[in-house]
């Protein structure tokens, strides 16, 4: 542990753990940015070759095919990169949508209270009674086989979590002494809501949304694995694992291993960033 005196005389306590956390978070951001860039650039350069069945099937990883080929003779690396664009952008989109809608509904629930709060909370309880992925599967299956429907299903599955979190934090903040002090200082309800309650209660669902991004990728992969997400021949990590499971029996581990590794890396990166944001915003 070190204590640093800044020019203003203010002492900052730095712990080795905090510095290590910063480095890990930077590495996690680097992984995400790299995967996203590759996901955007590689398919542009390679065109539609990630869906083209142009190589011998089940070639093991080599310099020419770093992740090998699948049983349809498609390059697994190219498909992983195409899947990166879909999964990372989808994870971010789901997290952002669930954050905005969940925070909005949670804030309305906390602000209005009474019957509005009771109705919203009971509906939330109903949704939370089901495991997220099962709920998303039911919604996606009832909407139809389309990646957009799967994405909507995952958003709906995560909204109740963020509604609950936003509501509980908003209620906690509203009861805080600094809100009473603001009222005594002459702040109007709208000023209290936007200058005190929102900034102090929003950071918790914001941190949670980074974790939602990682869970959304896992759920979306699960939906694709079960056949209600991205449809063949388009690349998506969950669907690629589903495709490659049978190849394991033939001793070809790479068609399912590399998309699994991509999911692991991306989900872990979002989790690390979430932990880092949590520490920073505390």
């Amino acid at each position: 542990m070190a204590i640093v005196d800044t020019a203003s005389g203010f002492r900052i306590t730095l712990t080795s753990r905090f510095r290590a956390g910063n480095k890990t978070a930077i590495a996690a951001m680097g992984v995400l940015v790299l995967l996203l860039l590759l996901g955007l650039v590689v398919p542009l350069v390679a065109g539609s070759s990630n869906v083209a069945q142009q190589y011998p099937s089940l070639l093991s990883p080599s310099l020419r095919h770093p992740f090998g080929t699948d049983h349809y003779g498609r390059d697994v690396f190219l498909r992983c990169m195409a899947g990166a664009r879909v999964d990372i952008l989808l994870g971010l989109a789901v997290a952002a949508s669930a954050l905005v809608l969940g925070s909005l509904i949670g804030s309305v629930s906390a602000t209005f209270g009474g019957a509005t709060d009771a109705v919203i909370m009971r509906l939330t309880d109903v949704f939370l009674a089901f495991p997220g992925v099962v709920l998303a599967l039911v919604i996606a299956a009832s909407l139809g086989k389309d990646p957009w429907y799967a994405a909507i299903a995952v958003v709906i599955a995560f909204i109740p979590l963020l509604v609950r979190l936003t509501r509980s934090k908003a209620l906690e903040v509203r009861a805080a002494d600094y809100i009473a002090a603001a009222r005594l200082s002459g702040a109007r309800p709208r000023q209290i809501a936007f200058q005190h309650v929102l900034p102090n209660s929003f950071k918790y669902p914001f941190v949670q949304s980074t974790l939602v991004a990682s869970w959304a990728i896992l759920d979306f992969a699960a939906l694709s694995f079960l056949g209600v997400g991205v449809q063949p021949p388009h690349a998506e990590w969950g669907a690629m694992i589903a495709d490659g499971v049978g190849d394991n029996l033939l001793g070809a581990w790479w068609p399912s291993f590399f998309p699994g590794l991509m999911i692991l890396l991306t989900a872990a990166a979002f989790q690390v960033i979430g932990d880092w944001l949590d520490r920073r915003l505390q």
């Binding site: 203003s8 005389g9 203010f10 805080a176 002494d177 600094y178 009473a180 002090a181 603001a182 009222r183 005594l184 200082s185 002459g186 702040a187 000023q191 005190h196 900034p199 102090n200």
Partner: protein, 308 residues
């Protein structure tokens, strides 16, 4: 101006299970004076503070301002009531720098940014803090510093009355004395009136000019601080004052206050010579000395309540 709380009642709960937190309490807080409301937890003192601040509605009673001899020509320009809370760090917005928190009351009064900043710098100097503290966040200051910041925010808009809700309860002993000295100094300079909520009799001795003792939502004794502390009449006041350890090595003290309590956790008044008649609502306050009132039927008798 004088803040007058008249016949305040606060009732919680439904009709079937009503809980009278405050029962017919009347208090006067004058400029330049400190009224200390003392009593144990649950006596209704924090509720009365919230009602006085306008943070809670009274079930009945009135809150008004009455002209007094100490009025200033510019009275009424700022927020009339401000509050200093028990937990200073929690009373400051964690996402705001201290500069912004102190200037907030001024901004809501329409004071410009530059002027608000100048007054914020001026007030932190008055409460004994360095100007650098303005750029810190609440988590970056100590409890004592945070309480000074909270006091600065409370007085920056020049209020008539500041409510001090257990202002030293969360501070260590060495800081307490300095905060009380600061409050006394600010009162001397600005003439602000304090409504101090506390169960700390030693703070009362240092700051209070008047005392109101609350027991189960009622004021059972009130009067000038010197008279109430030197000659407490109501058995409850006597019990409260006797529970304070005496800083004298010759007086034995084992550090344990073991007074009997009822099922609700309230102190049981065992020393009352006429138990029974005031069990429910009490006999009401009546004058027993100059400005000294007590709700005790035995107070007028030749043998005062609680005296052997």
């Amino acid at each position: 101006m004088e803040l007058v709380l008249a016949d305040i009642e606060v009732v919680y709960g439904s009709r079937a299970r009503r809980n009278h937190a405050v029962r017919g309490v009347t208090l006067h807080v004058r400029r330049g004076e400190t009224l200390a409301v003392v009593g144990e937890s649950g006596s209704g003192k924090t509720t009365i503070a919230k009602v006085a601040a306008g943070l809670q509605r009274a079930t009945s009673g009135t809150i008004s301002w009455r002209p007094s001899g100490e009025d200033r020509a510019e009275a009424g320009t700022g927020q009339r009531v401000q509050m200093v809370f028990q937990h200073p760090v929690q009373s400051l917005d964690p996402s705001w720098r201290i500069r912004r928190s102190i200037a907030e009351p001024l901004r809501h009064l329409g004071v410009g940014e530059e002027e608000a900043d100048r007054r914020a710098r001026e007030i932190v100097a008055q409460v004994g803090l360095a100007e650098e503290i303005l750029d810190r966040y609440p988590r970056q200051v100590s409890g004592g510093q945070a309480q000074r910041v909270a006091i600065a925010r409370a007085v920056v808009s020049d209020p008539e009355v500041v409510i001090l809700d257990e202002p030293t309860a969360s501070l260590d002993q060495t800081v307490r004395g300095r905060i009380l000295a600061l409050l006394a100094d600010l009162q001397k300079r600005t003439g602000v009136g304090y409504l101090m909520i506390t169960h700390d009799i030693s703070s009362v001795r240092r700051l209070a000019t008047h005392i109101a003792v609350m027991y189960r939502g009622l004021v059972v004794e009130s009067g000038p601080a010197a008279a109430v502390l030197a000659d407490p009449v109501h058995p409850y006041t006597q019990a409260l004052i006797s529970a304070v350890p005496i800083a004298d090595p010759r007086v034995p003290w084992d550090g344990v206050i073991d007074l009997p309590r009822d099922a609700d956790g309230f102190l049981v008044i065992t020393s009352c010579p006429v138990p029974g008649p005031c069990a429910e609502h009490g006999p009401g306050l009546h004058e027993i000395g100059p400005h000294h009132h007590a709700a005790c039927t035995a107070a007028d008798s030749p043998q005062k309540a609680g005296t052997p």
